[in-house]
């Protein structure tokens, strides 16, 4: 009997890393959009406009990063 623990370990590590990365990034994006603006209010001396723009930008970056992780995963599966 020859169980390929290496490959099984790979399944665990890769899927853990990829899924947690996507979940955390997506949650951060949502918090930026829906949050009480924890960092925005804690930074005094900003103009109101800048304060409103920052969470939207942060959220966009998070969602973009999510898309990159997913896209790279699919690329690895299909192309390689």
């Amino acid at each position: 009997m020859n169980i390929d623990w290496g490959a099984l370990g790979e399944v665990f590590v890769v899927s853990f890393g990829a899924a947690i990365a996507v979940i955390v990034l997506f949650s951060l994006g949502i918090r930026a959009l829906a949050g009480p603006g924890a960092d925005a209010t804690s930074a005094p001396g900003q103009t109101a406009e800048k304060v409103a723009l920052r969470p939207a930008l942060a959220a966009a970056l998070c969602f973009l990063a999510c898309a990159v992780v997913v896209g790279y995963g699919l690329y690895l599966i299909i192309v390689k």
């Binding site: 020859n2 490959a7 790979e10 399944v11 996507v22 949502i30």
Partner: protein, 375 residues
Amino acid sequence: MDVIVLVVIITALVFDFTNGFHDTANAMATSIATGALKPRVAVAISGVLNLVGAFLSVAVAKTISSGLVDDTKISPVVIFGGLIGAILWNLLTWLFGLPSSSSYALVGGLIGATWVAAGGDAVHFASVVSKVLVPMVLAPVVAGVVALVGTYLAYRITARADRDAVGRGFKAGQVISASMVSLAHGTNDAQKTMGVITLTLITAGTLRAGSAPPFWVILSAGLAIALGTYLGGWRIIRTLGKRVTEIETPQGFAAETASTAVILVSAKLGFPLSTTMVVSGAIFGVGAGRRLASVRWGLAGQMLLAWVLTLPSAAIVGALAARVAETGTTGTVVVGVVGAAIAGGIYALSRRRPVGPNNVNDVPARQLQPTGAGV
């Protein structure tokens, strides 16, 4: 091409079809339960992505067609018996709304049939254990752990944000994550049927041993599973979406992301996982990640029992069917007719209390009552 080969290919596609509607729940149950997608829209998206997914990889198909049984010792008739076993078990568990594993049913049926027809040494047990059984048992645990950690983090990160807005955000995310599960399901499960058809063509001498599935096999397997998925296995969707644990959108998102990752990575490495078991593991994981007590562990016991029974039950039916089918043309016809009659009977029983897109989210009153330890 012999008539029997054609019959086996059609039977394999019928299995693929039952696989589709048995497993729609895997991808869409949580989205339908949280209201992220309308039931009809959900199954349509799922069907299309199943088809797309079928074209992503052939690693799993090759594991099935060249790793599990000795293709020089069996004939298409044996595979026919195995498929009948798998189809009947799939239909029976669907009738009871149990999310059992279509993959276990298929592997069980195939092993049982090969065993009685060609003896125990025609089954590559070492390969069955290392490439099928061990990954199948570990994968749901992995998915559950990933989903548990993911859910915890998602709630932690969004704890201070506006709850309604968070709910809406994850609802939108679920549309994408559920679609990804469908894609993964198409990749992993359609390949099992491709593997069986390829195995049939190898045993019939049409293809050389170790061949990859031809294009028409990939296309027809993809279409059969997509059609099954589109029809929707509403009974199982209800079990997974409503009865295991009440699911909020962040949990649905976490469960689907975890399942997709596990299934796609395994498919890439050629492990034919049970999509059903992976998704169920993830759903229990997200339930536990939010609040341990909210999971109905009694139902987990029932599901576990169905999982354990699946392989041997399908193996026994497959063995019986192969034994009879092997006696000659009459035997094969008898197996086909009896199989179709049982399938028809199960369908007739299901019409007594139909579950469809209109009542999929209604939980029967008795299931809302506390059931002891579980609630």
